[in-house]
Symmetry: C2
Subunit: 234 residues, 2 copies
DNA sequence: CTGGGCAATTGGTGCTACCTTTCCGTGGAT
DNA sequence: ATCCACGGAAAGGTAGCACCAATTGCCCAG
């Protein structure tokens, strides 16, 4: 589940969001210098708020603050590219395609192992839920219910990441949810999921349910390679 | 290269560091409530400094700030476990072993694909450097120069991650360096690297140099599985 | 005794004013 | 041309204020 704005309140959050987006989008290129004064004036906020937003950006590696010189935008290589906010900002900007590609590579790396681990570590409830979801996916896919299909797909992949028992894998669930949602928004999904995809979802679920780790891993890998080739033209 | 706070300057940094460590270590368990006043008094800093540290912790998902309630420590599942600072804090605390395990799983997921990508995308300089490093590793390993071996190993793995052309993989270089260093500090390394490890380093380097992607991937996977089994007893 | 509403308390939110510290530029002296 | 000293710009840090929201608990009605 992506959770945008659950806090809602907070005056420094809009500032953080806007600056983060602009930096991630490259509108404020590396080397560009901001000042607290400038931020205050631009957003009509106090020094306190400007400083807090700046500190958070600094902790993400997006900027560096030095006395006398100002707030400098840092090169991309220094960013915390695993920070969910940074990923979100890049997915919202012109680098969306590139970010989707690197994230898909990450998915191909992580999700097969997560599925394998899930086959070993999942609870009975998780196993049956996986099978159930795979069946639902087939039904929705054949019916052409694209958005509902996507939501279940998000749940399916999130479930396996959670069930892997590795909290670092589990932490990727939200990010991958954003990838799946962003992919359909970008029109990188076929209008009707290919039958192979449904077969592979079934295969993964069955292998997880049956505790067949290696099988779950290879099926998930095949599924994701399928996903990558499908979005290559995009 | 690990770079612990080369900025040094900054009064809010020690506060952030201490609180982060305590939360990561579980000394401040989920649900525990802090107040800005308490932080001010404890560290002898002003409200501004306490607030900035709190905001950064909040952006890492370690705490949540609510009016009238205070600053609540959030459950582990909400943490940004990919944030380098969070990883560092957990590696420094009692959860070190668990963190090393999840990170090793992540390595097994990511590094083989990164090596495969490096075989496709590396520059000529990177390819020759990889071969050179593998040879150096063999020499150092046979000589039993453990710390120097480790430093070259750090460079080797970082090089391939950088060369993969995927910035998310590249961003893991620092973290993996911390894992390698932490592993030797924890005594989870054999006193003399096993010959197989050296052979596999060679195989990876040769495959990358020769552009044989699949071969680089499988060799790297074998190398990391070796690593995992070696640290399982720990 | 229970429940609902109202008021007091608590603690973060945001603002302003002011001082300190660090360095970047600049300009003058050698 | 080089070096050094100095002024000023901008972040770093402190203090105290008004404000607001949520929680706590009290009080009174049923």
């Amino acid at each position: 589940m992506i959770e945008r704005r659950q806090t809602g309140t907070g005056l420094h959050d809009p500032v953080l969001e806007k600056l983060g987006m602009e930096i991630a989008a490259g509108e404020l290129p590396p080397g560009h210098v901001l000042t607290l004064d400038g931020i205050q004036e631009r957003f009509g906020v106090s020094r306190t708020v400007a400083r807090e937003a700046m500190r958070v950006l600094e902790s993400m590696g997006l900027v560096q603050s030095r006395r006398r010189v100002g707030i400098t935008v840092r090169p991309t290589a220094d960013w915390n590219v695993f920070d969910p906010k940074v990923i979100w900002w890049r997915l919202s900007g012109p680098a969306r395609g590139a970010q989707l590609r690197t994230l898909t590579e990450l998915r191909i790396a992580v999700e097969p192992l997560a599925a394998g681990a899930a086959a070993r570590a999942a609870t009975p409830a998780q196993r049956s839920r996986a099978v159930e979801l795979a069946a639902t996916l087939r039904r929705l896919g054949e019916a052409g219910e694209l958005t509902e299909f996507m939501e279940r797909d998000v749940e399916f992949h999130g479930l396996l990441l959670q069930a892997s028992g590795n909290e670092m894998f589990a932490a990727l669930a939200d990010v991958i949810a954003a990838v799946l949602r962003g992919r359909t928004q970008l029109g990188l999904m076929p209008h009707k999921p290919v039958p192979e995809a449904m077969d592979l979802h079934d295969a993964v679920a069955a292998a997880v349910a049956g505790g067949r780790s290696a099988e779950a891993e290879t099926a998930m890998r095949a599924l994701l390679v399928e996903v990558r080739t499908a979005m290559l033209p995009g």
